[in-house]
Structures are given as C-alpha cells and as structure tokens.
Subunit: 468 residues, 3 copies
C-alpha cells in the first residue's frame, strides 16, 4: 500500500476544528433553540387530553410531515452519499464525508435559518425546521460533488460552514423578500449549491486534478452508486412536495413522478445515442435520470399538467446527458473547470431550466386555471390589503393580503431570484475557494487525490480467494 | 476485455424506439390526462381554506396512500432492481434495465389503465393511479426476471409495451367484471407476470442459453442481491395492503407480516435440508423467503387469522425451495424452459397457491366471521338492489348493491379468474415471444448473454490493489 | 476453496430445530392469537360505514404507527443486517442469519409479550405489537453482534429463543411493574441485548476466537456495512419515538435527530484524534456515530431541550470511540471478553449512559417544565386515586391515577431498572452461554470462524476480469 504523504502536517486539525464548531453549536443551541409548540410538553394545546398525547395526536404536524421528512433524510444521507461512491478508491470519503458534512450542516443550518426567523428571540424547532435543515445540507452536498476527491475534509467543513451563511441569506431574500415560488428548491438549493461548488472548484483548480487514473469507477463501485441514484429518484417527489399543503402537495408529487419517469427514459435514449457503439454510460444513468426532478422542482406545485411535467423531464434528461458528453469536457479544457460529479449537468443547468420553467408557468397562472389556489402557490398574487378584490375573496376563502402582483410581475420576480441566486452563489463560492487556499487548511498533494488511503484506515485487500 | 459483437446492427434502434414511445406518451398525456380532484387547484374542495391547503390537508388522499406508495415504489426500483444483480457480470443490466423498464411502464400503464376507467373522456391521475401504475410495472419486471440476461433492451421495451396491454385487460376483466378479490395482486400481477415471461422465454429459447459460465454469482453480487431481497421482504405488507381501506388494510399488513416471517424461517429450514452438506443456498434465501408475501397476497385482507397466514407462508417457502431445487432443473431439461431468476418459484407457483388459498378463504367467508365487512372484501357478495336483505343492511351500514353471490359462488369466481389469468398470460406471452423473434429487434448472440459488456460502457477493473 | 470441516456432524439439525419451533409457533398462534379490534372485520367499529373501510380509515391506528413501524423494520432487517457485513468473508452469515433470527424472533416475541398482556386469554395483534416484536428482535440482533462469526446458526436460534423469554420478563418488570420511562428502549433493548450477548460470549470464549486473519474487512465490505449504518442513523428518531403519543413523539424525534447529528460530528473528531496518523477508522464511523441514538433513547421524550440532546450525543460518541480504541482491547486481553462488533461500545455503555441521563432528566421533571404532559411521560408521577391533587388535574386533563411519585423517586426507579436489567441480562446471558456449550449444538471449529464457506454455498470467484 502506498505511503501516505506528509501526515504530520495535518495532525489534530480536523479534531480541533470539529470540536470548536461543535462547542459553538452547543452554546448557541443552549441560548437560542427551544421546542416548537407541537413538541413542547408545556404548551397549552398539549395539556388537554392524555390519551391522545396532549392534543389529538393526529393533529400534531409531525404526522403530516414526518413520512416525507424521512424520505428527504434518505436522499441526503443514502442518496447523495452513495451516488458519489462511483469512484474506485474514494468510497469511504464519499459516503463518510457526506455523512459528516450533512450532520454538521443540519446543526448549523438550524441556527442560521433560525436567526432569520426568530420567534421572540428564540429559534423554535420541529419537523418543519428539520426538513429545511436537510434541504440546506443538500446544497452543501451538491457543492461537495463538484469538489469530490480534490479537497481535504478540513476544507469541506470550512466550505460547509461558509456556504450555509450565504445559502440562508439567499433563500431568505429570494423566498421571503421577493416571494418567489420554488417549492422543490431548484433555485435556492440546486442552482445555489452547484454554482457555489463550481465557483470554488474553479478558484482552487490545479493541473494535477486532471488525468488521474483514480478518477474513474470499477464495476462494483458503479453498483454502489446506483443505490444512491435509485433512492434519490424514488424519493424526489417527497423532496419537491414536502413543504406544500394539501392539493399543492399532491400535485407536486404527481408532476415530479412523471417528470422523473420521462427523464429516465430520455436519458437511456440519449445516452445510447451519444456513446461509442451505442453503449449505455453509467455516468448518465446514475445522474441524468435525476435531472427531471431538479428541473420540475420550481413549478412542481403549479398547474403545469402531467404532460407539462413530462416535457420538462425530457428536456432535462437530454440537457444533462449532453452536458456530461460535451459541456463538461469543454468547460474543463477551455475554462479549467473541474467538476468531479458533474453537478453542473445534474443540478446546475437543470436548476436553471427549472427557474425558466417556473417563470413560464408563473406567467400563465390565473384564477381561471388555479381557482383561489393561486394565492397558495403565489402569495404575492393576492390582492392588496383592504382592496375590494380581497374582500370578495374573503367571502369564500381565507387568505392573507398580498402585493397584488400580476402574472407577468410574478414571472419577473422568478427570474430575478434566479439571477440573484446565481450571483450570490458564484461570488460567495469564489470567495470561499480563496479562503480554502489558506495553507493551514491542508490542500491535497497530487498523490492524495481521489484516494481514501491518505485519510482513512483502508483495509488490506484479501487475496485469499483471488485465483491466479 | 472481450470485443463486442456486431455493434453496428443495433445502431440507434434503442434511441429511436424510446423516442417514438416517449413522444406517443406525451401526446396521449396531453390529450387525456388531467389531475384528479385531490390535486387540481381549481377543484371546489381546494378553494375553501387557505391555511390547510384548500380543504383540510389531512383529508387529502395523498396522506393516506403516500407512505405505502413509497414503500411499493422502493420495492419496484430497489427491490426488483437489486434482487436481479446476483449475476456476476450483469449488475448494470439488472438494475439499469429494471429502472428503464419501470419508468417506461409507469407512463404507459397510466394510459392503459386510464383508458379502461375514463372519467368523462379523461384520465384522472393521483396517488392511487401512481400505485396501480407501479403494480403494473411489477408484472413486467417479473417477466423480465424470466428473461434476464437473454434478451436485448430493445426486446425488453417491446415486451413491456405489449405486456401492459394484456395485463390491463386481464385485470379489468378479473377484478372489474368478475369482481374477484386479489388485494395484493397475486393473480393479476404475480401469476400474470410470471407466466407471461415464462411463455415468452419458452418461445424464444435457444440452446446457447444453457450452461454459460456467466450465469452465476460472485460473492459481492450476492450481497447486492440481498439489498433487493430485504427491501422487498420488509415492504411487502405495504404491497399487499396499500389499496385496502381501514381494518382491511390493517389485517392485510398483519397477515403479510406473519406469512413472511414463517416463510423466511421455513426457507432456511428447507434450504439446509436440500443442499449438499446442509449448506444454505443464497438463491433460496434471496428468493424463497419472499414467496410467503406472494402466496398470502390474494387473501391478505380476508379473515384468515395470523395462524392461517403463517401456514400459507410455510407452504409457500417449502414450495419455492423445492421449485429451485428440482422443478426448475426439470423444466429446463424436459421442457426447455429457461427461467434465469426462477420466477416460477417466486411468483408463479406461489401465485397459484395464493389463488387457491384465496378461493378457500372466500368459500368460508360469511357475515358471521366478517360482519358487514364481508361486503368490503367481496362487494359481489352484497345483496341485490332493492332486496329486503340489502335494506336491512342499509339501516346500519353504507353499502352498494352487489350480485348476491354466495360464498361458494365467490370461491368459484376466484378460481375462474386464476384460469383466465393463466390463459391470457401464457397465450399473450407466447405471441409476444414470437414478436420478439423479429430479426430487427436484435436477439443476442451467445457471447452477449448474461454480460453487461456488450451494451454498457464497463470500466476496466482496477488491479492496483490486488496482490499476487 | 477450503474443504469444509466435519459437515456430517450437523446433518439436518438446523432443519429439525427450525421445523419444531415453527410448528410450536403455529400451534400457539392458532390457540392464542387473534386480530386486535382495529383489524378485526367483525368488530363493531368496523361495521359502520363502508366507504371508509368500516370506521373512518384515518382513525385506524395503522395510519398513526405504520410509517414509523416501517422505519424500525428497515433498521432491524437492513440496518442491523448490513452493519454486520463488514467482515470480509461473513457477509452471507451477517445479513442471512440476521434475517433468519429476526424473522424467528418476531413470531416468538409476539407470543411471549402477548402472554404477559393477555386480553381475556387471547393475544391481540396489530401494528403496535408488530412494533414491539421488532424491538424485541433488536435485542437479539445486538447479542448476535457480540457473537458474530463465532457461533453456529443452530446456537443462534437457541440463543434467540431463550433471550426473548428473559427479555420479555425484564421489560415487563421494568416498564410495567416499576413504571420506568424508556421510550427508545435503551435499557430494555440495548443494555439488555448487549450484556446478554457479552455474557454469553464470555462463557463461550475460546482461544481460537482471537487473532484470525478473517476477522477484518475488505474495502467493499466496509461500504456494505455503511448501508446498515446510515439506515440505522436516519431512522433512529423513529425507533426512539414510535410508541410515544403526540407532542412526546415529536419531541423524541427532535431530540434524537440532534443527538445523532452531534454524535456523528464528535465521532469523526475523536476518531481522527485517536487513530494513527490522524486517519479516520471505518469501525468508528460505522458504529460510534450511532451511539447518540442509544444514549438519548431513555430521555428522548423528556424536556431535555435540543442542547441537552446534543450534549448526550457528544458524550456518547466520545465514549464509543474510546471504547473501540481502548476498552474493547482491554476487555479482550484482561477479561477474555471477545466482542466481534463491539456491541459494548455501541449499545452497552451508551445504553448505561442513557439510563443515567434518563434518571437525571426524571429527577428534574416537574409540572413547571412539563405541564400536565408530566403524567404522559411518567404515569407513576400522577397523584393517587381520589386525591385532591388528582381531582384538580381532572378538571382540565384526562389522566389515570398514578402512584404519586416525586421526581426523586422516579429517578430512583429509573436507576433500579438499569440495575435489574444489567443483572438479568448478565445472569441469563451466562446461563445461555452454558447451554450453548452442549456439544449437540455444534460449536465452531477454528477453521469455521468468521467464514461463510462452511455453512453457505459460496460462489467460486470470477477470475475473468482480474488482470495479473
């Protein structure tokens, strides 16, 4: 087994950094975090009837959100973790750092997102904040995909910490201030995570990243990766719909299901077309089959009809395979943009497609095709406070006053959110890349690239059963 | 690595066929498919109260069906996909074609099943139709198991397309017209899928199929297969109960749970008995442990009592291991029936057992042991319209008028449905096999059998860590 | 491939034992087991309205418990099964015997737990008893972890059968008689299972157990194990909260989520610190990341606040890594305690930590921080029957009379339950170890240790693609 390179230079740093952050998290949780009313034994609603666990247990929001939360949880930890195990000698790092990063980020994201939504100076947690913390982890894991095998775990932790700050602010601005619709987080999670990671990768780029024989798969590593792919694919309807209510949620499930089905079929069709001898390429099957879930994520709860979702899936699958085949090599050779997992093809471009599809769907949304459901999907479309229009609605429907936006205005805000997301992601990603160049953060030597051997106790291979 | 054989003959065909079908699906979805009322923003019930997502979000049928739908979804894509990865060099094809076929079929089954249940000329989709589309995919994947490694992906797509037509008609006749009870689809899914695939396999049979050294497993491929096995086993209670209401669903869960537990124990017992030196055989553990889920599928919602479910599990496990040990080799040598995954032992014979168990249970079902629940399990048992018997029931219970069937009549219909299912499956499977012999559909050469190498970009093995 | 050793001595024994037990289970199920009222078609509540499946399907307890039941089911069969596949040549045994043992135990535990909670002489089953049967299986699988690779399947079955008897009695005494709070079963499942298995291991100990070259992992076996780890980690909130009502359940989910997150980060920090060259050790990542779920299990539903849960996670992760690094080797060399999976570090010590944390939390629980929810978490804290204190509560809240325990008394009972659990586990584990020494039960020869080859048909390795 190869000698590890300069192990001493990193002695104790990962431990030190993790311990410091964990202590900070503990202190901040101690000061700021408390149970939400659904999980606080003392809350009045939980002191009514014993047999039902306080209030009616069926009414606890846990019952509504938990099954989908667990689907998303599987996507984060199994899905992203195993999707990246395709590299032949980086399986420990893929699933291991994915695990570490996500467990780190869900704590930090609870705090950052909580600070932006304080209740009387406190952060109230519950299944909904667990969901949004998991979404935040997804963004960091997407960025990780762009850098897989090329940065140290120390650099990853710093990247995750910084990214969550910008991620939370961007989402707060886009979803909160601009009232953009993005139910599946295709802009705020996928576009942000992809271009943040790509920007950092570009800044950190080294010649040694290219051409390593270790940057490839073996037969069984490709099968491990398919565990990740299939779990992501199956549970993506939960990702895109978890936070939507009632019929909106149901619609988001349906649209994502059909977008993914058509995307999968399209990926096989295009992969066979672009590959040598019409063979299928596991890189496409592992990744591009999922692009439909990203691309339908912004408009999943809109009235795009199942056929509309399928068109989005077809375009996304095609775009993604074309990305792997031609755009990634082009960006690598011309722009020196190295993207280990091809996150530009799975999350970046399909995320931009999602934003555009969302803007188009928003531009055609009226009460004629949405009923009053229009104001659930686009709260800013609701009439202004004290307007006659609002009073008419309130006769039949409970709705908060909005900004009286037109369909065209809403579509414009959707595109503005995309531009802002791209800008914040790229600029903050580049700055983070610069930060990660600080020598103390242990950049990898060429020998350490794409290889578990230098950071993990790797077992000696068993040779007993290999016949020669 | 071996040269691929005659790649040019298949240039572009898979792409062409998938593109054509995907366009047809898109057009038909555009014309016929719309959201069901639970997912249509404009539906009146969704325009009442904003805070709950239109109507009370808890009342949306998504909440009732979605957790079990996702369990079934995992069975289809992870369960069937990984169960078939046991072959040493066909892992990509197993999990990959499973993925493609299922994504293809869920679109086509939405249409076919929808055409048989039109609402005012439209197909309304929702979580329930997603469930039945996934069930339809299961039938095709079972047929795939009989043909694994022996047909091209092009042939598989054609097979899936044709099979869904006959599958949907058979189920419509059996469940709709004959009002047969088959809550877990043991007849309409398992028996149909198995004998359709076996009939096609018999027609396509070639001498070269037998005796290939590639038709076997390696150590880690057997572990990948166990991922499929265990997910199928765990979620089978959801498969057998997803579409049943209330106490029927609860009962189907319990019966399937115990049938599977006793089947698993029995499989180990019988496998150790029939194997050389009392060793356990992974083929049995991977497959026969699941036979109890199939065999209890028809009567899972009936009042068979937990001990009854366990008896079914014991018989099914025994039958299945005996099938792998003696019946499959016999059929191969005497009838030239080659069954790669042994679907006759996991789905075929246990499905027939299910039908018989269902008929026996139906023959003993009366209001004395079911209460009025009898008419939920067997709607045709309800008294005729305007009969005195019906009026008496309607005093306490809401029930539609039925056909006034006796227990014996219902049992007879159960057996008739089995016979019809077998007949349609075998005849349509043979016709499909003939269709797949058309030269343009790329039958495999002997070198291409059980081998990913000819249709997939297979990575070079890494030799770096193998010491000699 | 190595010759198997003395295969004849075990001819037919496994089959015979499994058949006998399965018949006993069938007979006892036939006599005692019936559907609970939620799943009995005849029950009055299920004869009201057809459309809803008897009573309102949404009210069936299946809907409340089933999603979490399935999460726990995945933990038992995938989680424990794959966690143990880390051994290089014992993957079939790990996932296979796990499967067999669990399927065996869930039947036997249904009976044993049912006998202790008879309804008019009958055992009523449903989703709640399925949950508690799965919990019982967890205890046996933990014991299996201590003995992995060192005992025959015959010995495992006997061990499982005996363990469930003592397990059920201990839980009945601790949870029922002493009214100890242990929502996640950290004492009754984890402490019991770990020390039962360790006691048996100590009694069975042989010199040959140590120093085998087969007692280690290979690269891909460590990845298979991570499938188990991550599924256990993700679904642990369901394990700790499944049986709690309403806000208690929600709180248990939150506390477990954060305890696991901080435990994961801590495990990486401490693993890097204690390992040679600061490398990460897969043994720690696979196991110690989960210790937080065990350690928070007793107090998960108490008002410990998220920061309290995180502190428990930090302590548990540290304790567990220290256990793997120093305590296990110490116990092996000084006490000849061989613990293949290190269950003392994952279940034993973290379970004791859970009991202590639970006692501390119980000692500080008052209505000032719990409201009347206090009596949900600690039913024995409720005032005595006919007391003025009880009457006051009953004005606002439905609660059964309790024992009027103070916080200190409850804390004392928590510790008493720990001591009793330890005592029963160790004594019954040692007795079981002695029982397993009976020659007829096939103790393993040194050649058979940690090796599938002697009990499974192991495929010849494929050498076709290994280049030399």
């Amino acid at each position: 087994m190869a000698q590890t390179v300069e192990p001493k230079r990193r002695r104790g740093k990962l431990t030190l950094v993790l311990v410091i952050f964990q202590i900070i998290f503990l202190v901040l949780f101690g000061i700021f975090v408390e149970y939400g009313e659904d999980s606080d034994a003392k809350a009045e609603q939980n002191n009514l009837e014993h047999g039902n666990g306080g209030a009616d247990a069926m009414d606890n929001r846990l019952g509504y959100y938990y099954p989908m939360f667990q689907d998303v949880h599987v996507m984060i930890f199994i899905g992203f973790g195993f999707l990246m195990t395709f590299l032949k000698r980086y399986g420990f790092g893929s699933v291991g750092y994915n695990f570490l990063l996500a467990a780190f980020v869900i704590q930090w994201a609870t705090l950052m997102q909580g600070f932006l939504h304080l209740h009387h100076g406190k952060i109230q947690v519950g299944v909904e904040t667990m969901l949004t913390s998991d979404f935040a982890a997804a963004a960091v894991l997407i960025s990780f995909g762009a850098l897989l095998g090329k940065v140290s775990h120390l650099q990853l932790i710093i990247l995750g910490f910084v990214e969550i700050i910008f991620f939370s602010v961007n989402e707060y601005v886009g979803a909160g201030y601009f009232q953009t619709a993005d139910v599946g987080g295709s802009m705020f999670v996928h576009v942000f995570g992809a271009y943040f990671g790509l920007a950092a990768s570009r800044v950190l780029n080294k010649k040694s990243w290219e051409g390593s024989s270790k940057e490839g798969s073996v037969y069984h590593s490709d099968l491990f990766a398919m565990i990740g792919t299939v779990f992501l694919w199956m549970f993506w309807p939960s990702f895109n719909s978890a936070l939507a209510p009632g019929d909106d949620q149901h619609r988001a499930v349906i649209n994502t299901y059909y977008a993914l089905a058509s995307c999968c079929v399209t990926t096989f069709a295009v992969s066979a077309m672009v590959s040598k001898e019409n063979k299928l390429d596991m890189v496409h099957i592992q990744n591009s089959t999922l692009a439909g879930g990203v691309a339908v994520g912004t408009c999943a709860n809109m009235m795009i009809q199942p056929w509309g979702a399928m068109v989005i899936g077809v375009v996304a699958g095609t775009l993604s395979v074309v990305g792997y085949k031609w755009i990634s090599p082009f960006l690598l050779s011309k722009v020196h943009l190295h993207d280990t997992c091809g996150v530009n093809n799975l999350h970046g471009m399909p995320g931009i497609l999602a934003a555009i599809a969302g803007a188009i769907a928003a531009a055609t949304a009226e009460t004629s095709n949405y009923g009053y459901g229009l104001y659930e999907v686009f709260p800013a479309r609701a009439p202004l406070v004290n307007s006659t229009a609002l009073d008419t609605i309130l006769d039949d429907f409970t709705v908060d006053a909005g900004s009286g936006r037109t369909a065209g205005m809403q579509a414009g805000f959707q595109l503005v959110a995309l531009v802002i997301t791209l800008a914040i992601a790229i600029i903050s990603g580049m700055l983070t890349g610069l930060l990660l160049k600080i020598p103390i953060l242990d950049q990898l030597t060429p020998d350490e690239l794409y290889d578990d051997n230098n950071f993990w106790e790797v077992p000696e291979e068993d040779t007993h059963y290999v016949k020669v």
